[in-house]
């Protein structure tokens, strides 16, 4: 006869565990089985690769338990998350080990090791008493940190922390009760049986001193019940709260290592990513819309929260610069911009109807060179950039064909970011035809917005895609463009689409370093600020955009540089409205340095 160790007080705990795992597995299995064919094929090929699986396991250990990515963003926050997650994990693991060693059987029901002290008050297994007390103290310190964070986020250097849903608050309350109740229950056990280590033992001695010994067993019984109820309540509320992330992050890490990705046309992988959001709120402070007080409830954490609950409104999805600053700090690595685009697409697809039949009548002039230069729509409003490129081309003796000198079709990225994917695809298809038919082998653009969609979405038969800063850097490296280092100083602004979007940080700096003194602003590279002009935001008016730009310009003015240099026509336009310092494109800076006259 197997001993089941049944006691009535474990019922709330058992109910919680059963509800949690049945709801959770139903969700996860239904999401994974509803993945598109191509994703499932990737899963099947990845799951048999030992290296991939081991890599995913290692990542799950690092990120779900040790939270190393949070550590890179915020040390105090890291302590809070790690002490709770890793501490609790160790409590469970060591608890299990203690029970196995004590009962001398590998099969111990889960509730026996969770309520081990209640079942076996006299058990004494090596140093386990001390270890378990130390671990409990570790978790409790994390709990104190969590309480402080909730009421005083500034202690963690955070301006704002997340506003929670009812489910979150329920789970949070239960979670906050679990460990203090465990401490109390175990200490009353110690009070009765005169056991326990430095924490539970000392507290127990105090209870024995203060309370009549007759009352101790009753209080003890109530406390173990409360501990069981708080655990059960927490488990039941996990699927309806942010704490689903504890479990959702594991399949997310595995699927990601199998190269499954979110899509702008949402799949069930999007649902898994949404569930993996811990609502830690790290994405809130980097958001310039939050910092400028323009919108306080549209940040990624709130978009995902609303999507999980009832579906976010289009207005909420639209209110975002898609600068990628939140995505670059997200400790879970959620594809925030792709998910936001998919929400916009979903909310917009019923009403948006674009008709680009006229695109077939658009043609480009005959190519005069193998190197094509595409200004893009924004570039066409900053003609000095193309003019500078023309001058640079003449000076370095290369032929450039200016594709959209007369007019050109939009690259489609603005429509893509608005969620009008079919419209964007129609423009992409026609541009692909025109570029490929023209016979060019290199396509240079001064617009990071165009470049990003060319690289990510276009199929261009191997045409080399370059940003003009990369093209100029190449000319310099090949010795075709001779420059002398001047006295001017340049503070370089990383455009979002070029930097965080495409990872192009170095070439512009090399170019500027060759022609003058390069200054860095306080926040640059992957921490660079958005100019505020972003085409991704459909709701901002010019006054709000200027407010964002003014904040950015202030950082640049602090460097004292002669010029603010950017390499995006949109950024140039936005920033130049908000500063007295001259804002120029990198091509203009080079043209000035080589001293060529307008061609």
């Amino acid at each position: 006869m197997v001993n089941l160790y049944f006691e009535p007080f474990i019922i709330p705990f058992i109910v919680g565990v059963v509800v949690l795992f049945s709801v959770m597995w139903t969700k996860f299995i239904s999401w994974i089985s509803a993945l598109p064919q191509s994703d499932r094929r990737m899963m099947r090929s990845g799951i048999f690769s030992v290296a991939t699986v081991v890599g995913a396991l290692w990542e799950a250990f690092r990120e779900c338990l040790l939270h190393l990515k949070i550590g890179r963003v915020n040390g105090r926050l890291w302590y809070m998350h790690t002490s709770l997650a890793f501490g609790w994990f160790l409590l469970i693991a060591f608890g299990k080990a203690e029970a196995i060693l004590y009962l001398k059987t590998p099969v111990v029901p889960i509730y026996v090791d969770v309520f081990f002290r209640k079942y076996f008050p006299f058990a004494h297994v090596g140093a386990f008493g001390f270890i378990m007390d130390a671990l409990l103290l570790f978790v409790l310190s994390g709990l104190v940190a969590a309480v402080v964070k909730r009421f005083r986020p500034s202690v963690y250097g955070m301006r704002r922390t997340t506003d929670h849903t009812l489910g979150d608050k329920l789970a949070l309350s239960a979670l906050w009760c679990i460990f203090p109740l465990r401490l109390l229950a175990e200490s009353f056990n110690s009070a009765i049986y005169d056991s326990g280590s430095f924490l539970t033992g000392s507290l127990g001695a105090l209870w024995a001193l203060l309370l009549p010994s007759r009352s101790l067993p009753y209080i003890n019984e109530v406390l173990w019940w409360c501990y069981s109820v708080s655990l059960g309540l927490f488990f039941v509320s996990v699927p309806i709260s942010r704490y689903l992330h504890i479990f959702a992050e594991i399949p997310l890490i595995f699927l990601r290592s199998f190269k499954v990705r979110a899509s702008v046309r949402a799949t069930t992988f999007t649902k898994l990513q949404r569930a993996a959001c811990s609502r830690c709120g790290i994405c809130i402070d980097p958001c310039q819309l939050s910092a400028e007080g323009i919108s306080l409830d549209t940040q990624s954490v709130y978009l995902l929260r609303d999507e999980r609950a009832k579906g976010a409104t289009l207005a909420k999805a639209d209110s975002c610069l898609m600068c990628g600053r939140c995505q670059s700090v997200c400790p879970v690595g959620i594809e925030l911009d792709v998910i936001r685009t998919s929400v916009r697409h979903d909310r917009r697809k019923a009403t948006s109807s674009f008709d680009y039949g006229y695109l077939d009548t658009v043609h480009v002039p005959l190519a005069t060179s193998k190197v094509g230069f595409f200004s893009g729509c924004m570039g066409r409003l900053t003609p000095s950039v193309a003019a500078s490129m023309r001058a640079i081309a003449i000076r370095s003796g290369v032929d450039i064909w200016f594709i959209d000198e007369a007019e050109g079709i939009c690259c489609g990225r603005p429509q893509r970011m608005a969620g009008n994917l079919d419209a964007a695809d129609r423009m992409r298809e026609r541009n692909e035809e025109l570029f490929v038919e023209s016979g060019i082998d290199t396509l240079v653009t001064s617009c990071p917005i165009c470049l990003r969609t060319f690289r990510e979405d276009y199929h261009l038969n191997g045409i080399r895609l370059l940003h003009h800063s990369q093209f100029i850097a190449e000319l310099m490296e090949q010795g075709r463009l001779d420059v002398e280092r001047g006295a001017a100083s340049f503070a370089y602004h990383d455009p979002c689409e070029l930097g965080r979007g495409l990872g192009i940080y170095d070439e512009p700096r090399v170019v500027l370093g060759n022609i003058g003194r390069l200054e860095e602003v306080a926040r640059s590279r992957d921490k660079a600020l958005c100019c505020g002009g972003s085409l991704a935001h459909l709701g901002l008016d010019m006054a709000q955009r200027d407010r964002i730009a003014a904040g950015v310009c202030a950082e640049f003015e602090a460097t004292g540089a002669d010029f603010i240099v950017t390499s995006c026509p949109m950024c140039k336009k936005s920033l130049s409205r908000s500063t007295e310092t001259r804002v120029i494109d990198i091509a203009e800076a080079v043209k000035m340095a080589v001293g060529v006259e307008e061609a």
Binding site: L314, D318, R348, T351, S352, S353, F354, D355, Y356, Y358, L359, T361, V362, C377, M378, R380, L381, E407, G408, I409, C410, G412, P414, Q415, A418, N420, A423, M427, G533, L535, L538, G539, L540, D541, M542, A543, M570, K573
Partner: protein, 125 residues
């Protein structure tokens, strides 16, 4: 001469009128009873900067889609403001949402916001 005058009065493609650079259009009155202001009111509520428009036409002058197709955003949004909303959705559909109109607008109107709102609100033809 008589023919030319007749052409002017026809208000279509008379040679004189063409050379002169203007055409004479037949009279056109706004029927206030038929005007549907609901779309304009809703767009104005969503995009307050629309009220700053002075109708300069810069948006249309710079428009990428307008270079290729018969698409005139200035005319289109002014018709919405007059309450003449039928038949506009199809005309709006040429827009590429590229954003040049926003950048050049001297009044800082969020024209793309207006277009996005119109796409949602204009009646289906």
């Amino acid at each position: 001469m008589e023919k030319a005058v007749a052409d002017i009065h026809k208000g279509s493609s008379g040679t004189v009128a063409k050379k002169f650079g203007f055409t004479v259009k037949s009279g056109r009155a706004i029927d206030i009873d038929a005007a549907d202001m609901s779309v304009a009111d809703e767009v104005m509520a969503r995009v307050p900067s629309w009220s700053l428009c002075i109708g300069c036409g810069g948006c249309t002058a710079t428009c990428t889609a307008g270079a290729f197709a018969d698409y005139n955003f200035r005319r289109l949004h002014l018709m919405v403001r007059r309450g003449e909303v039928t038949g506009l959705r199809g005309r709006l559909s040429a827009c590429m949402l590229c954003g040049k109109c926003v950048l050049q607008c001297p009044r800082g109107v969020n024209t793309r916001g207006v277009i996005a709102a119109l796409m949602e609100l204009l009646p289906r033809d």
